[in-house]
Symmetry: C2
Subunit: 312 residues, 2 copies
């Protein structure tokens, strides 16, 4: 049994599709397309073929659907339900690196109950974006065969209120992609290396810790990798940076179809590259107009930023 | 006129010599040798010949003087004055990355008025550790000829109370080595790249921004470099990490006697290497027992931590 020919999709992402109202020092945007599944799939679309599983309301803008499709994203798993699309209201005013949630209206996302078709359930790479871990588990259980790599994200809410389900999920994924604060909260460890190794002890063979403006660290059983974030002149809207990272990371891995250490290191920089673009404009404004040349150029800038020679 | 033969000293450091009483989650130490000049010179001593300018009281322990001398440090500029050695009392309890100062007793350091002898005033590399900027300027004025590179550090206190003198100093140094928070305070810029470029606008051709557990960033007019900190399993005492960084950074530069971009990048990792050792034990306990093999091994670990291959 091979993956080839069964489906053209390389990655399936399950997560939120949202209309975000965001205020940052750079300005305010109302009801811009967002949500983990959108940031992830748009970012990954520059690397490989992605399918998106999510739910939207009757208010979903056909132009937004077109935009996803124009990026080659399989939106056949994007279900329209009675009601309004998930809405998030947030601001980044005091500290550009810390979102303050003003309001969350789950709307149709409150009843999100994804069903996978055969094509989707045969996808070799699976990203379970931050949703209720019982939904993440349901999707994982729906896969026809074990994917080559399953990654998941989570958040403080689920660590607080759904710990048993979250533990069940984490035990079954290959890689947890998580914010630094949440890695520490999840493990009760203040030290980064301790937190990472405690997570590896929960089941995954890899953990990627997202450090926002400070970059990313990746830990496996026998290696670690760390990279700074790109020192941008202007951060307009940090919303979606983490999911854009995950999209670039998984997108690169799926594109080379290798999960070795070299690929994981390069994938971390591919992810950092996509996150650096995500924050340069509101919502998906920057991500949606990228070229491969833009991505290669920023990746090369990371190489230039971080390279050094041995001591002589 | 050449540097060779005029003095064996490659670096001169002017700063504090202190007895620190420190409490961290790992324990408490009373009256351990510390101070910026000690951390810097001990760290740099593994790379090149260092001279130390400072002041101690009658209580200074001859064993501490021996320890500095055993590391080849020229202590002829370490003056003994009537009174007690500078004492700092601090703790890192809530947050291992943030010192809380409980008490500062300047003692003889309050009257610190360094005089340079001919040997010292001819040193090609000069580090003006964090002291009153009027003293830093006095030392700079005392140099017989312009050093190849002058670096300085400062702190929030001087930004608050001695801004004109600090501006005069910064205008005249080649490189400012400063904590991230203080870089932002000094410039009023919250964005790292903006803060760095604002500092370059004040005069220096280089600025190194120390980010504690998040590593370091180096900015020049036409390049930038960034590196994560080494993800240590155990941080015992962060005191002196910044000066140990500066000692490794300047020590490497002086040892290769080149100030080009490649040397500056490697020097940043040499500095990060020394800082990573500094925090592994109380005070100078780890730094004082290092071997060149230890340093090369940790430097190589940084290479392993950060390397990645191009996208294929």
């Amino acid at each position: 049994m091979t993956w080839t020919g069964e489906t053209h999709l390389q990655i399936l992402v399950v997560g939120s599709v949202a209309y975000d109202t965001v205020e940052t020092p750079a300005g305010k945007r109302e009801f811009q397309l967002g949500g983990s599944a959108c940031y992830f799939s748009m970012s990954a679309s520059y690397f490989t073929d992605v399918g998106l599983i999510g739910v939207v309301g009757r208010d979903f803008d056909p132009d937004d659907l077109d935009m996803l499709k124009q990026h080659g994203i399989d939106t056949s798993g994007l279900i329209e339900a009675d009601g309004k699309t998930f809405r998030w209201y947030g601001e980044y005013m005091e500290d550009i690196n810390a979102a303050v949630t003003l309001d969350t209206q789950l709307n149709v996302f409150g009843g999100f109950d994804p069903e996978l078709c055969d094509t989707h359930s045969n996808t070799p790479y699976l990203f379970l974006a931050n949703v209720d871990p019982t939904i993440q588990i349901k999707v994982l259980d729906s896969m026809s065969k074990k994917p080559k790599m399953v990654a998941c994200d989570t958040m403080n809410l689920w660590i607080d209120v759904a710990r048993p389900a979250l533990n069940d999920l984490i035990r079954r994924v290959d890689i947890l992609i998580i914010n630094e604060d949440e890695a520490k909260q999840l493990t009760g460890e203040e030290n980064l290396a301790h937190a990472a190794h405690a997570i590896l002890g929960l089941g995954p063979s890899l953990v990627t810790i997202k450090r926002g403006e400070y970059g990313v660290a990746l830990f496996g059983d026998d290696f670690s990798f760390a990279a700074p974030a790109y020192p941008l002149d202007r951060v307009v809207d940090p919303t979606g940076a983490g999911d854009s990272f995950a999209g670039g990371f998984m997108g690169y891995i799926a594109s080379v179809d290798r999960i070795d250490q070299d690929a994981l290191r390069t994938a971390s920089i591919a992810g950092s590259t996509m996150a650096s673009f995500a924050v340069e404009d509101f919502g998906l404004e920057r991500i949606k107009i990228l070229t491969k040349a833009d991505i290669e150029s920023r990746f090369d800038a990371f190489t230039d930023l971080t390279h050094f020679k041995p001591m002589s």
